[in-house]
Amino acid sequence: MTGSADLKPHLARSHVMDLMRQMLRIRRFEEKCIELYATERIRGFLHVYIGEEAVAVGALPTLTPDDAVVATYREHGQALIRGVPMNAIMAEMYGKQEGCSGGRGGSMHIFDVAHRFYGGNAIVGGGLPLAVGMALADKMCNRRRVTACFFGDGAVAEGEFHESLNLAAVWKLPILFVCENNLYAMGTALELTESETDLHLKAQSYRISSVAVDGMDVVAVEAAARRATAAIRAGEGPQFLECRTYRFRAHSAFDPELYRSKTEVEEWKKRGPIERFGAWAEANAILHPTDFAALEQEVAAEIEAAVAFAESGNWEPVETLTRGVYAEVAP
């Protein structure tokens, strides 16, 4: 890869501010979701991204609106950063008609075709073949698009991961694989389930150019993602990013966290993406205490509006229960 200047993040104040804003949007949105879960406004499964924000915030802005995103059941962050309106996401969490998936999907199935956000796939590894097909279609139609596919370390154990990486490499597809390695597949540690825990090596075995980055460092993720998407656009085929990160909260609201120690969680929290980037920005006098306060206020207002939107949303009438099983016309 070249080291040309336009591939590096420019840490101008406005960009720093934006990275901070986006990470805070995810963090505060999900903190609110946890509250709303406790008060039973949100039901079902709720998988939060808290601790992993730097991955979505670093990687996604390197895409253009024409590119596509495929994500997992832990996808609120990717959806927010991709531009899916917070109101529509929150309404979806509530199961209201005004939700981005009409309320039919909930937390795990956020879809927004207008923003080329293709879920919200809650079968581990299930999104990878879809992303391969989307990228294949783009290649066959000579569209210069990138499909970014997010998945966790758990997916690496699935056959679909290996099948998909192989197909993407054989067909040289324009796809960015983003592995969010948070060290646990639900509650089972990576070293208990993988013979090779250096996950980016697996991609190399398929002759896919891959790199492991500090997924707690938003700037490192952005730099790696910029290089990867540039390579894809240059026709170099699929690229693989392993973002080493950590989930600060439980896997879902049902998880008693018996499989890891509080000390381990606390150690990782010291490397929190918001905490560390914020401290750096302040130490370098790029952001000031008043900036943080202003950002917090701005994000709080957006969340408050989203909650109000979801609260005032409507339940789909039971009469339309069987709608949307079969399509009448192809969109």
């Binding site: 999907g105 391969v132 097909g133 294949l136 679909e160 998909s164 197909l167 949307g324 399509a327």
Partner: protein
């Protein structure tokens, strides 16, 4: 002097009819492509796609690795962004490796996305027994797929349907699975030279009759027609209905038929327990009970993985003699 136009008929086989349908679809719509194991250089494991690679090239006649889940999923992914893929899976047994993609993605994306994403995908696969290829290549699992809301399931049993269902399926905005019975590929006959798309979603009466309705599909249709001829010699005039579409089921045609015959036998190469035949029989009992003069009969595969030796395989499958016996039983003859 003008003469009425004479319909030109051509001789073809089930295999050639499907190939002609693929050929036509590829010519008509550049979004259509065929993808699967050995569809290109090998010519298709049942030779359906033989010659298509030379015609359309490797981009559109796309050989895949033995990765059923990934290439079926890739078909779904390509379909949701505007392509019209035809995915070929060698046999229904192998489709189990892609069950996740078919059931969890193809069948659900429209619904989970609140109607934003439709999946205009066609998946073709061989099904059924009769070639002594034993318990991992011979099963009839189409009934499982017919259980799934969001999928459409077709079972062409005639040359016309082999020729015509694919085009209709490609124009459908939903995922459509086409089950081709392995014993039908060599079936030959004549069809109209201009045969084309056929309606799906409707059953067809293949042999009208007054006394008993024999309901079949796919590979068992021809055994059932044979049984009907034997029954005719014994004075039982059987009507044979070809389901054609396994999901959605055309219950109306079945009810109309038993309204006239008052007797029904369901023939299904799947196993009896939890089968498509069970669903058909249940619907007739729920909605047609008062039309029936006798309990509904069923002829299914014996509940054993399909064995290799010829005599055991034959004994495991529905055969004309068993269909005749079942019809006689419901007629109390």
């Amino acid at each position: 002097m003008t003469r009425p136009p004479v319909e030109t008929r051509i001789r073809t086989s089930y295999r050639e009819a499907i190939r002609a349908a693929i050929f036509e679809a590829m010519l008509e719509d550049e979004r259509v492509f065929l993808m699967g194991e050995d569809v290109g250089r090998y010519g298709g494991c049942y030779a359906v796609s033989k010659g298509l690679l030379a015609e359309f090239g490797p981009e559109r006649i796309r050989d895949t690795p033995l990765s059923e889940s990934a290439f079926v999923g890739a078909g779904i992914g390509a379909a949701i962004v505007g392509m019209r893929p035809i995915v070929e899976i060698m046999t229904v047994n192998f489709s189990l490796l892609a069950l996740d993609q078919i059931v969890n993605n193809a069948a659900t994306l429209l619904h989970m996305s609140g109607g934003q994403i439709s999946v205009p995908l066609v998946i073709r696969m061989a099904t059924g027994a009769g070639r002594q290829v034993a318990a991992q290549h011979s099963h009839s699992l189409e009934g499982w797929y017919a259980h799934i809301p969001g999928l459409k399931v077709l079972a062409p049993a005639t040359l016309e349907d082999a020729r015509g269902m694919l085009g209709t399926a490609l124009r459908d905005p939903n995922p459509v699975l086409i089950f081709e019975h392995v014993l039908l590929y060599n079936m030959e006959g004549e069809i109209a030279a201009d045969a084309g798309a056929v309606e799906i979603g409707k059953a067809a009466i293949r042999r009208p009759g007054r006394d008993v309705t024999l309901i079949a599909y796919g590979g068992t249709l021809h055994k059932t027609l044979l049984a009907a001829e034997i029954l005719a010699k014994e004075g039982i005039d059987a009507e044979v209905v070809d389901l054609r579409t396994l999901r959605p089921l055309d219950t109306a045609t079945l009810l109309e038929s038993i309204g006239r015959t008052h007797h029904a036998v369901v023939v299904d190469e799947g196993w009896r327990s939890g089968s498509l035949s069970a669903e058909v029989a249940a619907r007739l009992a729920e909605e047609g009970f008062w039309s029936l003069d006798a309990p509904i009969g069923r002829v299914c595969s014996v509940e054993v993985p399909i064995p290799y030796p010829r005599h055991l395989e034959e004994a495991a499958l529905p055969q004309p003699a068993r269909i005749v016996a079942a019809a006689q039983a419901v007629m109390r003859r």
